[in-house]
Amino acid sequence: MINAVLVFNNNGQPRLTKFYTQLETSVQQRLISEIFTLVSNRPNSACNFLPLPPLLASSSKSSTPTTPHNDTPSLVTYRHYATLYFIIISTSTESPLALLDLIQVFVQALDGLFENVCELDLIFNFETLHATLAEMIVGGVVVETQLDRVVEGVKAQGKVAKRPVNEGKSGLGLGGFGRGEGVWAGR
């Protein structure tokens, strides 16, 4: 299952924190900080999987090859879009490559809701950000992976607010996604 979904920007400022277990606020912040340290040092060519941050690493070493699964979070997957890092922490029951696609769906859904989404949209509409995530993941289990249904689900909850006009949006239009159009086509 998925243990946490985090979004923070290039400076490590959180934009979305969702922990599917109850965790002390200070511990949450420490974890974000540790992951940010790990993620911000990654080179361009590096893969999208992080080694476990110290807070999580201590307890996962006991996992043995004899038990293929357990409840311990063992996988930290991330993707970096423009100014934001999207991170998913999960156990071994999730497929690493599929999680990458899941993040892609999430971002595409946000893009569908905000039209050429950027970090500012998410700052000012963090409720919508949460709502979008809630359409995809409930209690750490993925409930929807189809883009249109996610968007539909969020829209059903009410009008999605746009970014305030005077915040301006200039010099954008970096159209097109890096990877394939179909959600599942690439990987």
């Binding site: 400076n11 307890s59 311990t72 029951t93 490559l97 970090e119 500012l120 949460h130 305030p164």
Partner: protein, 1041 residues
């Protein structure tokens, strides 16, 4: 008054760069005020702002009651804010959770789908067992809600409910199963159910076997890749239980591997085949070969594909899973895997590192270790300050601060981005590499090592690259934990271990230890910066002491041990040093063959004076261990120097004069009693207590007088006997005698038979420092100096007798008279067999050859060795043991514990076989229920009598009226009862009972039949109180029917 919206707050934050803290503090103050207002809009906005700030770590637990208020607002907008705040801020200890229960129940039953979604999303975050029981009945009907989105969320919510309250699954599972079997169900609901089953599946795979046919159909026909991945993962846990599945699964899996366009699905298919044991099951058949080739081929393809590091990473993950079961498949891919060790990406390196630890063998050990060593040696060290600069906490503080440049935040997210910095080689990675090297080499008591001299050199090299430890060496006695974790201790332990276990390289090990101990070589032997590697001194100090007679330079060693800087060492190391000093001294002073000349006397006296000088200040050392040893040694040295100065010296060139016996006999005897051998952990416990051993009575009742006598006796007279008695091991100790000599001793192989191993799979100059290399070369040259065929510095040959040709070659550049070269008869038979191992051919020879036989002492133990112990053995791979053990007991931070589910069977209640425990529990429940019933009956009769007495005095009219009221109510009930009283519906009755309460008090009529059909032992003590009224109701029903 002007109130800020969330938008204002965020803008404010962005406009208050530098003073965010004050701004936030003020905003929270405002929120505190606003949240108490009666205006729900204001309240909700304040809550929204608090939730936003919570994301940055600002506490909002004080607002939990207000969260409830906003949640209960009738407006959806407020509700949504309230629920979000609850999810983000409620913790286990939040007290208002109890109050939230009713709100949750109410919203679950709402007619609006969007409202139902809110509690469905929130329940997984806030649920506790008592609440779970209560909301369960409201959740169950939602499984058949008309909206698919509600159904799928309900399924997941029920799963999370089951994690805290496993009983949830009893009523819920049959319904979920029904959803799954329904072919007309919305695909997304089916996918959600599959996701949940996948989570449940690995806990109790046997419960899901009956579903296999349906799941198989879904896999074959399904076009949802996410679900297919989950199905494959699920099947991988089912196949071990149901081998027939394998045959069925193979065709579709093969088809998917060949056809799918989604790499994730392809990968999971291979993974499933590996993990489900399908490879083993079909081994030997043509199908099996094909599938194995297909899988491994695809994995290899993932490794070598250009530009996709992710595939490399997951392929390594997959290899790691099969390395234990299919080492041959993995070793075929050794080339690509080894390349990953040097991958610039640290994640991939780590995976590769884990993997190679599993695949080392005698042949590739040197190559793999060589690569890792080269990495450690050549990679630039990252200073730790650089690291923290990137740390968010290292910045001026946390906060939702505005970005330095707004346009940054407006960048479209569409472009996935990756930074370009080169990877650092952080210290913890270095530590991991060193640990892995030690782990690989020491596995199975050095089963993979053929050349221990090489290993010693590797260890020495490791000391030089070991990173600095974080805790500065403290002289106090707060030892351990971090100390033990320090990787240099691991290296030291290995060096010690080799010195003890491998007799043949003991001189080399001692040499290495000596070079580590020598103070003037410290700059060279240890990392130039930081305090890395110093932990190894503890072990090196022990080795130079224990094997002092192997020392090539005892004087210098002694000088280093007594060096003033030694007193600055950690107390643990210092204590070891103190023990080593007299040992080295004993070896230096102990020779009894050398005459006691004035020269020798002066040297000894001087040496002892130095030792005393070193020890004196330490007798007041804060560490008790150091202090005690210092005092002991000090006294011993004073005695010895007295003895030395008291003994008359002989003529330097004249007759032999005996040196003082204290120096030649007594002190050496203190340390050279018995050979130290490795002893298995736990062997001590197995030593049987001999019969008749009485540990209680004093051996000599006159101990005190004995000691006093001993004190008076001189040392000169009969010290030999006294010391011999103490130092020599008893010849026939009852317990250790049979095991005294290791069996391996008898298998001793003469040293010259050993052949040097090949070094061709790794060039040493890549990973060993020049000085170590130079020494190795010199040693080799020395060894082969008489070998006429020795040309190649990496030769393979043991020394051979000097031949005429050899002497000519050695003659160097002098003119060689060709005629002078004698013509030899060549024994062709002999040489042809030789030529196979000729050094010139040796270069191209395969590295695979019979491993050199080096005698490695095993652990001594008594009785059957117990395998469980060996894994926990301190002296083999100790570094990670402590932390692993600690980790096992500790729950991971983000972990959602599902272990409770393991105990719950999902079999249908009736058909499922009951365990003994279940039966016992049921019996106990029934017995208790019987007791409760009897008690209730007794109370009922008492009350009945009492009420009869009261009623006798009451007026008839009143009674009649009451009777009427009751009748009416019974009529109403008749409609309700048949709906759902099947046995488990105690709750519904409970509600009815409450209604009944008002007028039930007057009714105390005797009821004969109190056998209660609905009674099934599910309600406990609570029921007792309600019992009486309930029986009244039932009885009336009976009458009405």
């Amino acid at each position: 008054m002007f109130e800020k919206s969330l938008y204002d707050l965020i803008r404010g934050l962005r406009n208050h760069k530098g003073t965010e803290k004050e701004y936030i503090a003020e905003s929270i103050r405002e929120c505190r005020k606003e949240i108490r207002s009666n205006d729900m809009d204001l309240k909700s906005t304040a809550l929204m702002k608090l939730t936003y700030l919570e994301m940055f770590g600002y506490d909002m637990s004080w607002a939990s009651f207000n969260v409830l208020e906003v949640m209960s607002s009738p407006k959806y907008r407020h509700k949504r804010t309230g629920y979000l705040a609850a999810v983000q801020s409620f913790r286990r200890d939040t007290e208002v959770l109890m109050l939230a229960e009713n709100q949750l129940k109410k919203d679950i039953s709402s007619p609006t789908p969007t409202v139902i979604s809110l509690p469905l999303n929130a329940i997984p975050h806030v649920i506790n067992p008592s609440m779970a029981n209560s909301v369960l009945s409201d959740l169950l009907p939602r499984l058949t809600h008309s909206h698919a989105s509600i159904r799928k969320k309900t399924v997941v919510t029920l799963y999370r409910l089951a994690l805290v309250y496993p009983e949830t699954l009893r009523p819920a599972w049959p319904k979920i199963k029904e959803r799954l079997q329904d072919e007309h169900e919305d695909p997304s609901v089916t996918a959600a159910i599959v996701n949940v089953i996948c989570e449940l599946g690995w806990r109790r795979p046997q419960d899901f076997l009956p579903l296999a046919p349906r799941l198989f159909d879904l896999l074959v026909e399904g076009n949802n890749n996410w679900m297919a991945i989950k199905l494959i993962k699920l099947f991988a846990t089912l196949t071990p239980l149901e081998p027939r599945l394998i045959k069925k699964l193979l065709p579709p899996l093969t088809r998917i591997i060949k056809e799918t366009s989604a790499m994730s699905l392809l990968y999971e298919c291979i993974n499933g085949i590996i993990q489900g044991g399908i490879l083993e099951a079909v081994e030997g058949t043509s199908d099996g070969e094909e599938i194995a080739r297909l899988c491994v081929g695809k994995l290899r393809g993932m490794m070598i594909i250009e530009g996709d590091a992710n595939l490399k990473y997951v392929a390594l993950l997959a290899f790691e899973r099969i390395v234990r079961s299919h080492p041959h498949l993995v070793s075929q891919q050794q080339d690509v895997i080894l390349n990953c060790i040097d991958d610039p990406d640290i994640s991939i390196r780590m995976r590769a590192l884990d993997l190679v630890v599993g695949m080392v063998n005698t042949d590739n050990l040197t190559a793999i270790v060589g690569r890792l060593m080269r990495q450690l040696r050549t990679a630039p060290t990252v200073s730790s300050t650089e690291n923290t600069a990137n740390d968010r906490s290292g910045q001026t503080g946390l906060g939702p601060y505005g970005e330095p440049d707004d346009s940054d935040a407006e960048e479209s997210l569409r472009q996935e981005k990756r930074s370009d910095q080169p990877p650092p080689l952080p210290d913890d990675y270095r530590v991991t590499v060193i640990r892995r090297v030690l782990e690989m080499c020491s596995r199975d008591t050095y089963a993979n090592i053929t050349d221990f001299e090489w290993y010693i050199d590797v260890l020495v090299q490791l000391v030089r690259v070991s990173p600095a430890t974080k805790t500065a060496s403290d002289t106090d006695e707060d030892l351990d934990i971090e100390d033990v974790d320090d990787v240099s201790h691991g290296i030291g332990r290995q060096l010690q271990n080799v010195a003890v276990r491998v007799k043949s390289v003991r001189p080399e090990a001692v040499e290495a230890a000596q070079s580590l101990v020598l103070v003037d070589r410290r700059d060279q032997m240890f990392p130039s910066s930081g305090n890395g590697g110093l932990g190894v001194l503890e072990y090196a100090g022990w080795i130079v002491g224990e094997y002092a007679n192997y020392l090539t330079n005892p004087d210098a060693t002694m000088t280093s041990l007594l060096h003033p800087t030694s007193t600055q060492l950690p107390s643990k190391t210092l204590a070891i040093y103190l023990q080593a000093v007299p040992k080295v001294f004993a070896s230096m002073a102990g020779s009894e063959q050398v005459s006691w000349t004035p020269e020798r006397k002066t040297l000894m006296t001087l040496l002892m004076a130095r030792i005393v000088h070193f020890l004196e200040p330490l007798s007041t050392h804060p560490s008790l261990e150091v202090q005690e040893r210092a005092v002991e040694m000090l006294e011993l040295m004073r005695l010895a120097s007295e003895a030395a100065s008291g003994t008359v010296t002989g003529d330097a060139y004249g007759d032999f004069t005996d040196p003082p016996l204290l120096l030649t006999q007594a002190i050496p005897a203190l340390f050279s009693g018995a050979e130290l051998n490795p002893v298995a952990a736990g062997a001590q416990h197995k030593v049987p207590i001999p019969d008749g051993l009485d540990l209680d009575t004093p051996i000599n009742p006159n101990l005190n007088t004995l000691l006093a006598e001993a004190e008076q006796e001189g040392f000169e007279s009969d010290e030999d006997d006294v010391y011999a008695a103490y130092s020599e091991p008893p010849a026939s100790h009852p317990s250790t005698a049979p095991h005294h000599t290791p069996a391996a001793d008898r298998l001793d192989v003469p040293l010259k038979e050993k052949e040097p191993t090949s070094y061709q799979n790794a060039t040493e100059d890549e990973y060993l420092d020049p000085d170590i290399l130079a020494r190795r070369k010199a040693e080799r040259r020395e060894r082969y100096k008489d070998d006429p065929f020795y040309i190649d510095p990496e030769a393979q040959q043991t020394s051979r007798p000097l031949t005429p040709l050899g002497s000519i070659v050695r003659a160097g550049n002098e003119e060689v008279d060709i005629d002078a070269i004698p013509i030899m008869d060549l024994d062709l038979h002999h040489t042809s067999s030789r030529s196979a191992s000729d050094p010139h051919v040796g270069r191209t020879r395969s590295p695979r050859k019979a491993p050199k036989r080096v005698e490695i002492m095993g652990d001594e133990t008594l009785g059957p060795s117990d395998t469980g112990d060996s894994s926990a053995r301190e002296d083999i791979v100790a570094p990670r043991r402590a932390s692993a053990a600690a980790g096992k007991s500790k729950k991971s931070l983000l972990q959602v514990d599902s272990s409770q589910l393991g105990a719950l069977s999902l079999e249908d209640d009736g058909s499922g076989p009951m365990t003994q425990l279940d039966i016992e529990r049921k019996e106990a429940e029934e017995a208790e229920m019987k007791r409760a019933l009897m008690e209730v009956e007794r109370l009922r009769l008492e009350m009945q009598r009492a009420s009869e007495r009261v009623e006798a005095r009451r007026e008839v009219v009143v009674r009649k009226k009451k009777k009427k009221v009751r009748k009416a109510e019974i009529d109403g009930e008749e409609v309700v009862v048949p709906v759902g009283d099947e046995g488990g519906e105690g709750r519904e009755k409970g509600v009815k009972k409450k209604k009944k309460k008002k007028n039930a008090d007057a009714e105390g009529k005797a009821e004969e039949r109190d056998k209660d059909g609905g009674e099934d032992g599910q309600e406990g003590v609570v029921k007792k109180k309600k019992k009486k009224r309930r029986q009244v109701v039932l009885d009336d029903e009976g009458g009405a029917e």
